[in-house]
Symmetry: C2
Subunit: 431 residues, 2 copies
Amino acid sequence: MKTRFLLHEEELPHRWYNVAADLDRPLDPPLDPRTNEPLSPEALAALFPRTCIEQEMCSDRFVDIPEPVQEVYRRWRPTPLQRAVNLERALGTPARIYFKYEGGSPTGSHKANTAVAQAYYNMVEGTKRLTTETGAGQWGSALAFACANFGLECTVFMVRVSYDQKPYRRAMIRLFGAKILPSPSSRTQAGQAVLAMHPDSPGSLGIAISEAIEEALHGERTKYSLGSVLNHVLLHQTVIGLEAIQQLDLAGEWPDVVVGCVGGGSNFAGLALPFFGEAQAGRRSRPRFLAVEPVVCPTLTRGEFRYDFGDTARLTPLLKMYTLGADFVPPAIHAGGLRYHGMAPIVSRLVADGVIEPLAYAQKEVFESAVLFAQSEGIIPAPETAHAVHAAIELARRCAETGEEKVILIGFSGHGHFDIAAYDSVVQGIG
Amino acid sequence: MKTRFLLHEEELPHRWYNVAADLDRPLDPPLDPRTNEPLSPEALAALFPRTCIEQEMCSDRFVDIPEPVQEVYRRWRPTPLQRAVNLERALGTPARIYFKYEGGSPTGSHKANTAVAQAYYNMVEGTKRLTTETGAGQWGSALAFACANFGLECTVFMVRVSYDQKPYRRAMIRLFGAKILPSPSSRTQAGQAVLAMHPDSPGSLGIAISEAIEEALHGERTKYSLGSVLNHVLLHQTVIGLEAIQQLDLAGEWPDVVVGCVGGGSNFAGLALPFFGEAQAGRRSRPRFLAVEPVVCPTLTRGEFRYDFGDTARLTPLLKMYTLGADFVPPAIHAGGLRYHGMAPIVSRLVADGVIEPLAYAQKEVFESAVLFAQSEGIIPAPETAHAVHAAIELARRCAETGEEKVILIGFSGHGHFDIAAYDSVVQGIG
C-alpha cells in the first residue's frame, strides 16, 4: 500500500495562494490606535519591507514566489504527505489519516516558509538586521536560519519560560548566528516596565513582540519580522496546502476534515486556506476545518471578536481578531507556540463566519495522543502539533464507533526533538 | 540550479548489495575463541535469528529486501541527495559537494535501516524481545523504534555516563516503549560483578554488551541485536549507497571522492560499498574512499589488523579487524558513536587492501567545520557526521587552491538535534 506521497522539486508551487481574493467581503482593516482610522501602508514602513506591506493589502488570488525563495525552499520542499497507517491500525478506525509533514525543514517546522520569504524581501530592500520575538523557539530559529542564509543580522527576544525550559532551541538560534535575549529583558523600555511590576514574569508572546518592535524602531536599517498572525505571513504558508492538494490527488483522496493547531494561526491557515480556495472556486467540496488550541489559552473558543492590540505594550496597530485581551498571560504549558492572546484576522474572520470550527484540549490528553502517534508512526510531534494530532485521533476514534470512512488531513507543523524533556515527564506519568 | 535530488517511493531499491561477492578473496572467518577454529553458524543461533546469520555468511551479490521492511523504509526513504551550494560558495571552491542525508529517519540517523531489518527477521522467527547496548543512544533509539513497529519488546543497556549526560536521547528510547537501564546494572551477573568492585562505575560499551548478551541468553524467546560491525548490518545499510547512485545519475555526476565517518563502519560502508561494486563490475571508475575517525580513537590510522574480541569482556567471537585492543577506552568526546576500539571486518579488509583511505581529525576542527556547514546549509550535523563534513571541507578547500572541480559525496549519517549542548559550548568558544 502506498503511504507516502512525494513531489519532485519541479512540482514545488511557484505561487502562493491569497485567500483575500475569495472572501465574500474584505477583511476589517487594521486601525491606527491614535486615530481609530484605517492604517496607511506608510505607517507600517518603519517595521516591514515594502513588498510585505503590499502583500498585506493585496487582493490578487495568487502571488509569485521569488526564484531565490524557491531555491531555498527546495532544500526541504516539497515536504512529504504521509498516511498514518500504523496509527489507523492502532485505533482500529476505518478513517484514513494523512499528515503533511513540515518537520523536515532546517529548523524543524513550517516557520521557515515565511522566514525565508521575509528575510529575502528585507535583504532586497536593504535591511541590515531583523528583530523578532519567539515563544518555544520555532519561529526564532527559523528566522535565524533565514537571516544567516541572506546575510542579515538577527536579534531574537525569547519568552523567558521557554528560554529557561528549552536550552537546546536557544542554542540552535545561536548556532545560526543570531543574538538571543530572554524576554522580558532590561534592554527595552517595554521589558523594563514589565520587570518593574513583575520581576519574575514568565514572559509572553505579547511582551516579546513589544520588545522586538521597540528594538526595530530604534535600530539603524533594522526592521521587525512577525512569524504569524499577519496576512502576508499566512500567504507565505499556503505553499503547504498547495502541495498537499497535489499530493492528495496522487493519493486519489480529498479530505473530509482538515485539522491543525492554532497559536497565531499561520500553520493552520497555510494548510487550510488553499482547500478553502478550491471549494470557493467550485472545484471541490469544502472540508470541515478544525482549529485546535489549548484550553488554557482559549483564544477562539473563549475570546471576543473585536479590535485589539497584537502586543502587551500596545505598540502594534489594532487588529480585528479573536482575543483574550492584550494583557492576557497564559500559563506555562509546553506548547509555547500556542501561548498567544490573539489570532490571525483571516482565521478569526473565518471562525466568525462559521467556516472554521475551533476546539480546545487539555495538555495531558494532547500528550497522550502524541505518545500514541510517536509509538505508531515513529515521528515525535512538537507539543503544538500534538494538539492537531489529538483532535485527529478523537475524530478517528469516533469513526471507529460509527464506521465512517472519513479522510482526515493533519497539519503536522513540526517535530518535537527539542521538547523531549516535556515528553519524558508525561511518558513516565503514562507508562 | 537543481540542488536536491529526490526519488519517488517506487524507486526505493528492492535489494541490498552484498560486497562479499566482489571481494577478490573471502573475508577471514570469525573464530571461536575457545578453539581458534572458524565459528559454526549454529554457535550464533542463540543470539541472532537464522536469516541474519545466513546473511552474515552469504556470498550472493544482491539480497532481497523483504516487502514489510520496504514498507517501513518508505516512511522516510528514499532519503534526499542534496548539493551543498551555499557551502561551496562559502568556501569559494570549484568542487561540487553532495551529501546523502540520513537525518530524516524516525530517530534521526542511518541506524534505523538495519534496526528495522533485524527487528523484522526476529519477529518472523518468533522472537519476543530484543536486547542491545547503546552508547550515545542513536542505536538504542533506532532499535526501540523498530521493535515498537513490529510488536517486539526491547531492553536497552545504556552506558551509564551517557545515560546521565544525554537525558533527551534516553527519553526518546523510553518514548518508543523500550525498557532502558543504565549499565552497569544490578540486573545481570556481569553488571553485578562490576558494581561489586566499582559501585560508581561510569560503564563502557564493553560492559553494556556483556549485559545485553547475558540478558538475551537467559531470556525466553529473547535475542540480541548489534548496530554495526557485522556483515549483515553493513548489508542492510547499502540501501544508502544504492539510492545515492540513482540520485547522482539524476544529477549527471559520479563522485571523485566518497567520504564518511567510521565508528563500527556501517554508515560509511552503507554509502561506499555500492560505489565499489559499480567499479568492480567495470561500469564506472572507482572513487577515492575516505573513512574519517577521531584522533583520540584512531582504530584505522593507528590500530593493528588482527583477530580481536568485539567487546571488553571477551564474550564475542574473534573478528579479523583493525583494533586498538579490546581493553582500549577512548576519552569522552562528543562523537560517542565513533568511540569503538574495533572496526567492521569488511571495512578493515578494504583498508588493508588500500581501497579505503583512513583519516583522523581532532574534535575542535571537526566542530568548526560542522558550524560552517550548519550556518551555510541550515542542517546541523551529528558530532559523528561532522567528521565526514570536515574531511569534505578540507578537500574542497584544497580544490579552491588547485582549481580542481572534484565531485565530493558526503555520507550525512545523522542530525545533531540531540547534541546541541555540545555545539553550544563550541559555538560560544568559536563565535
